[in-house]
Structure formats: structure tokens, C-alpha cells
């Protein structure tokens, strides 16, 4: 009980609210959960990170060296009443010495529309792909697949509305769509009066006998983008230029997950295999915004794609090992190759790839310690990255999402 009150108090202080006292009955308390994530990383290279052929944005990057905090988040969720469910997740992180609170998710969802319909509104992770809807602590590895890093800035989320429908069929079938603001990377500018991005998704799945379960998903996303900025290429000594993109963007993807556990009993041994493929097309203009009236610019017609495949195997209770392979490719053209290169869109003949190995130990369901090694060929300077990470969760039972 004390723990609960203190979490509420801390959150209240962080958000500048008056602390609320926890209610007596557990049933009426919102579920409060805190994820603690800390890391120690070792890199071979000191050079700035880039992903040739991709304009990086969002949270994309390879993370800090040495001791640093990962994704620490505080989530509060509950059924609002018999009609709505609500959830908010705040990420508390340091950015250049300042502690910032970021509203990662804040949404409501209908419970009782019936007929398989659910409407979600607010800020949420898009239902495209497979990993996208999961929080980073639920991923099998300590970082996002390269294609997520390259296309979405690690994860695609936005403010808007989602409608989904589950079919009343033997085979699981879910269809849905989203209309969102389109201000966050990889969109930008909140075009169409703040409803500039939309997506469609479909998922099917089922069981094969007692021991196997599977799901396949298809997704499509598109946006009209106005002035999307990104990190781009760094220059020594030159004026500070920010690569800025205006135009269309659309991607399609396919994802699959397959899980195996002997007789469906995952507590002893289980295997999870998953893979995703995305391809994005963009057409518009890239300019190098340096504050002047006529910045350098180029037309840009680009195609970026990539996939990953990963397997995570729990071979005895508490212990898991995992293997992941990532690969990207891009084909970007424009009227001025030099400007494209400055914007990070020239892949310089490099095909980013990465091989990652991980092993983790979970003392209980609530605590996990992980060691991960990556042979990172995602940019020109090959890197060996070693990460030691802990992920702990405090609070009620996490939901066992598929």
C-alpha cells in the first residue's frame, strides 16, 4: 500500500498535481506500474551515428555509452466506467542534463460498443506491425530493429483515433484503421488541419494444435508531410543545417509471429519466432534548412525497405537466449545528389545490417537482467556493441500480450 501511495505521490509531483491519496479498496484503484530500465553499454566507435539512406528522427539512435538509463516509464490505467478504459504512460528521461517528462501514451478506449468494435482515442502506439504496439521492455532485445529505427524513429505513435473490429469467426481476424495528427516523426507538419496521417491494418491468427500459435499482420500507412526535420549528416565547421522534407510518404508492411511451447505450457520451455518487413516510398523535396531564405534543396524520390528476423528461446525456466538479424536497403534519387547526401539519404553503396545475440535471466516475472552483443554494420564504421541491462517492473501484473 505504501508503495502505491508513494508512486502516486511521485507522479503527482512530477506532473505538478496535488498528491492524491490511494483509495482503500484495491478494486477501485487504478493499476499503477513502474518500469525501471538501466544500462551499461560499450562501443568500439566514437563516431556520430547515422543510418545511410535513412533520415533519422524520433528517438532513433544507438544510445549512450557507459552507464545510462533506458526507458523508465510510469503507467496508470483502469476502467474509467463500464464504457471506457483509460491509460497514460509517462516516460521520465534526462535530455542534456534536464529531466523531462514525456507523455508517451494517453488514450481512452471503448469497452462496451459490442459487435467486436473498439474505438480508441488520444495518443497511442499505432497498431501497424507487430512490435510497434509493445512497450520496449517487452521486446526480446534491448533496442528496436533497424527498420523501426530507420522508418519510425524506433516506434510509430501519434495523436488521433483508431477503430478496430474483431470478426466473429473461428479464425482470429481483426481489421482496423487510424486517422492521426501527423505531426510526429515520420510524419510532420500536421497537414490537413491536423489529421495528416492515416493507416490501415489487418491481423489474422490462430493455433496449430495444442503447442503452436501464430499471427500474421498487414499494414499500410500514409501521410502528407510538411517540413519534417531530421538529424542528417554532421559537418565539421559548416553552418548548422537541418535536413527538412516536404512531400508524400507511404509504407506497407507484413509481419508474422509464431510461438511454440510443449503442450502450450510456456513456463518450462518456449520458442518465439518473429519477423517483419516494411517498404516505404517518399516523393517530394528535401532542403537543408540553415535559417536563410533560400536554402539548398533537391527533389527527392526515395524507397527504403528492410526486415528483421528474430528468435527468442527459453530453454529452462528463467533463462532465455535470442538471435536477431536486421537488414536494410534504400534507393533514393534526386536532382542534387550532394544535397541528398548531406541529408543522409545517400546510402554510399552501403547495405546496413546487424547481427544481435542476447541472453537474459528473469528471477521472477517482474525482474529481468540481460546481456546483449551486437555486431553492428548499420553504418560505415563497423561496431561491436555490448549492453548490460536490467528491466524491472513494479506494480500489478503486466498483461500477457501475445
Amino acid at each position: 500500500m505504501n508503495k502505491r501511495i508513494s508512486i502516486v505521490t511521485v507522479l503527482s509531483l512530477v506532473l505538478g498535481l496535488t498528491p492524491v491519496c490511494a483509495v482503500e479498496s484495491d478494486g477501485f484503484n487504478p493499476a499503477i506500474s513502474l518500469i525501471l530500465d538501466g544500462r551499461f553499454s560499450v562501443y568500439e566507435n566514437d563516431t556520430d551515428y547515422e543510418l545511410p539512406g535513412f533520415m533519422l528522427g524520433g528517438e532513433a539512435g544507438r544510445g549512450d555509452e557507459g552507464f545510462h538509463l533506458g526507458h523508465n516509464e510510469l503507467a496508470i490505467s483502469a476502467n474509467v466506467d463500464d464504457m471506457f478504459y483509460g491509460k497514460m504512460t509517462a516516460v521520465i528521461a534526462d535530455h542534456e542534463g534536464e529531466t523531462e517528462v514525456e507523455l508517451e501514451e494517453a488514450y481512452i478506449e471503448t469497452l462496451a460498443l459490442g459487435n467486436g468494435l473498439t474505438v480508441k482515442g488520444g495518443r497511442f502506439f499505432s497498431a501497424i506491425g507487430y512490435l510497434n504496439q509493445q512497450h520496449p521492455h517487452a521486446w526480446g532485445f534491448s533496442d528496436a530493429p533497424l527498420i523501426y529505427r530507420g522508418l519510425f524513429g524506433d516506434q510509430l505513435r501519434d495523436d488521433g483515433l483508431q477503430i478496430s473490429w474483431v470478426a466473429p469467426t473461428e479464425l482470429y481476424l481483426k481489421l482496423g484503421g487510424e486517422i492521426t495528427r501527423g505531426e510526429r516523426f515520420p510524419a510532420g507538419g500536421a497537414s490537413h488541419d491536423g489529421a495528416g496521417a492515416n493507416s490501415l491494418f489487418a491481423k489474422i491468427g490462430g493455433d496449430i494444435g495444442e503447442s503452436q500459435a501464430w499471427q500474421v499482420g498487414l499494414s499500410h500507412w500514409q501521410a502528407d508531410i510538411e517540413n519534417r526535420t531530421s538529424g542528417g549528416h554532421h559537418h565539421d565547421g559548416g553552418a548548422h543545417e537541418i535536413p527538412t522534407y516536404t512531400g508524400d510518404s507511404r509504407f506497407s508492411g507484413i509481419d508474422f509471429v509464431w510461438k511454440w511451447a510443449p503442450q502450450g505450457n510456456a513456463s518450462e520451455r518456449n520458442l518465439k519466432l518473429q519477423g517483419e518487413y516494411f517498404i516505404r516510398d517518399e516523393a517530394g523535396t528535401v532542403s537543408m534548412d540553415d535559417g536563410s531564405v533560400t536554402p539548398e534543396s533537391t527533389t527527392y524520390d526515395g524507397e527504403q525497405k528492410g526486415w528483421y528476423l528474430q528468435a527468442v528461446y527459453q530453454f529452462i525456466p528463467r533463462w532465455r537466449v535470442g538471435l536477431r538479424y536486421d537488414r536494410l536497403d534504400s534507393d533514393n534519387r534526386g536532382s542534387d545528389q550532394e544535397v541528398l547526401a548531406e541529408a543522409g539519404l545517400d546510402n554510399e553503396g552501403h547495405t546496413p545490417e546487424r547481427l544481435t545475440l542476447m541472453g537474459d535471466y528473469s528471477h521472477s516475472e517482474y525482474s529481468r537482467v540481460r546481456l546483449q552483443y551486437a555486431k553492428d554494420d548499420s553504418y560505415e564504421d563497423q561496431d561491436d556493441i555490448l549492453t548490460l541491462q536490467y528491466i524491472m517492473s513494479l506494480g500489478p501484473h503486466g498483461a500477457r500480450q501475445f
Partner: protein, 301 residues
């Protein structure tokens, strides 16, 4: 885009076969409830169980096939008391089926209808995976099971009033057979009184409460945590001072820990069915108790 989506949704809806509503579609979280539903509903219900005797009901994922099943269900019959807290609320939320939400007639929580054991005074994760609402493994006391059957019978009637007669007569039949069996079991189990057992997990509290069996220790150091060599050594210590008749475990639990302790102490390890389907010949609730008692009596003799 919105229009396309709507059209797709409507088209999908129209293409579906019309399901006949003569039968209630019932989703049982565990096999014991699927079995009880079959006893009480007979041919007026279609039953599916989310888990089997080989699966740990604490550790199930909200996987696609289960979402599809809950989507079509008229009634969920579950243990409750947080046994399914890791996956059921998520299923209820994801399916857009308002009939089966908590608080609705379409959600039946068995543990709610009986006195629960082991309600902790305080809940802290350092105590392991404890349930604030008490021990949820309520079906292993046949007296409590009859109370649950009564409540479930009423629920079936309120969901399907046109078949009241059918449900009522099935319940009366079940009650009669169950009471006869209960008398027989109690006579048979007389020698088990005061028996001392080591358990794997706190699955058996209600069985022990009924039969006056004493729990001496658990292979799990804390509920939900796997056993360790250190914990086994401590258990061995306890057992030399106060011996037990057997170490019991069930199908979904790894027998290694029980067998290891058995080697260390010379106390026999016994697998009990725990639920319907959990052993040879355990095809319904009656045989569940028959086999459980038979195996315990064999240890005793």
C-alpha cells in the same frame, strides 16, 4: 479511407454465416469449469476451455485464438480471484464483446461464490505471486464446487430463460449424483485425515481444507517462483524434523523439483490430476476426485 474501411467492415459482416442461437456459447477459462458447464448445460451449451490440464492457468497469453473465442462467447466461466489476471482482462478488453465484461451477466467468477482461503493481510511482491482476493484454486473442495454449481445454474437460467426447465432438471440431477459421490468420498477419505503433504504450488489448499490434510511445505519458495537448491535443502531440514507422507505436484508443473526432493528425503513424489484431463481416466469432475483420492490413499496404505 474511412469509407473504404466501413465498406470492408460491412461486407465482412454480411459474408458471415448466421450462427444459430439455440445454444449458449460458453468460454471456460479452465477445464474444471468447462466440465461443470457440460454437466449443467448438456446439449444447450457449446463449451470451449481456454486452458488444458497441461497448462498453468496463471501463465497464459491473450493469444489470437482466445480473442476469437471470447469474441463469440455468451458467457465466460472462470475461477476469478485474480487467477487469470494476467490474460483475461486483456481478452475482455480486446474483443469488443460487451456481454462478457466484468460486472455483466456474461462473466461468471466461480471464486466469488465461496468462502476463500488464504486472503493475505497485506500484499507485497516480495511475497511472490500472491492473490489479494485469496487462493483462487477453489474447485478442489467438492462442497464448495456444489455451491458454485448452484450459482452457475442460476446464471445459465438468467442468460437463457426459455430453457429454465432444462437447466433446472440437469442441476437437480447433478446435485443428487454429487451429494451421493460426496458421501462416498468422505467415507473413503477418512484415513487421510491428518495426513502431511509437501506441495509444489498452493493449488491444493481447498482439497486439504476439505480432507483435513496438513501442508508441510511448498517446492516453490514463494508462490510463482521456481524452486532452488537452497530452498530444497531447507525443506529437507524441515522434513527430517517433521516427516511428510508425500510430495504432490500436477501435470503442468515440472516433476524434477518434486523428484529431487524425493531423492533427498526418501519421501514419495505423487502426481495428482488437479483438473479434468490431468491424468488417465480423469474425464469429468467425478473422476477427478475419484482418482485424486485413490492416489492419496495408495500413499497412505
Amino acid at each position: 479511407m474511412k469509407h473504404t474501411l466501413c465498406l470492408v467492415l460491412i461486407a465482412m459482416g454480411m459474408g458471415l454465416p448466421q450462427i444459430a442461437f439455440s445454444q449458449l456459447n460458453i468460454f471456460a477459462c479452465e477445464p474444471e469449469w468447462a466440465s461443470l458447464v457440460k454437466e449443467l448445460g448438456g446439449d444447450r451449451v457449446l463449451t470451449t476451455s481456454a486452458t488444458t490440464a497441461h497448462q498453468d492457468p496463471h501463465r497464459i497469453e491473450a493469444r489470437p485464438s482466445l480473442i476469437a473465442k471470447v469474441r463469440r462467447a455468451d458467457l465466460l466461466v472462470c475461477s476469478g480471484a485474480e487467477l487469470e489476471v494476467g490474460w483475461l482482462p486483456m481478452l475482455q478488453r480486446q474483443t469488443g464483446n460487451r456481454k462478457v465484461l466484468a460486472g455483466q451477466t456474461g462473466y461468471f467468477e466461480a471464486a466469488q461464490w465461496v468462502d476463500r482461503l488464504g486472503i493475505p493481510e497485506k500484499v507485497d511482491r516480495s511475497m511472490g505471486d500472491v492473490h489479494a482476493s485469496g487462493n483462487p484454486h477453489v474447485h478442489l473442495d467438492p462442497r464448495r464446487l456444489l455451491q458454485i454449481a448452484l450459482a452457475l445454474n442460476e446464471r445459465l437460467i438468467s442468460l437463457d430463460p426459455s430453457n429454465t426447465q432444462h437447466y433446472q432438471s440437469r442441476f437437480e440431477g447433478f446435485k443428487h449424483r454429487w451429494q451421493m459421490a460426496l458421501e462416498r468420498w468422505q467415507r473413503l477419505a477418512e484415513p487421510l485425515k491428518g495426513m502431511r503433504l509437501v506441495v509444489h504450488h498452493q493449488d491444493w489448499d481447498y482439497l486439504f481444507d476439505w480432507l483435513h490434510i496438513e501442508k508441510v511445505g511448498a517446492l516453490e519458495p514463494k508462490p510463482g517462483l521456481p524452486t532452488s537448491a537452497g530452498h530444497l535443502a531447507k525443506l529437507k531440514q524441515t522434513l527430517t524434523e517433521m516427516p511428510a507422507s508425500a510430495i504432490i505436484y500436477t501435470h503442468y508443473q515440472n516433476p524434477k523439483a518434486a523428484k529431487r526432493l524425493s531423492q533427498l528425503t526418501g519421501i514419495v513424489a505423487v502426481e495428482l490430476p488437479y483438473t479434468v484431463g490431468g491424468g488417465e481416466g480423469v474425464t469429468d469432475l467425478f473422476t477427478l476426485f475419484d482418482v485424486t483420492l485413490k492416489r492419496l490413499l495408495k500413499v497412505k496404505s
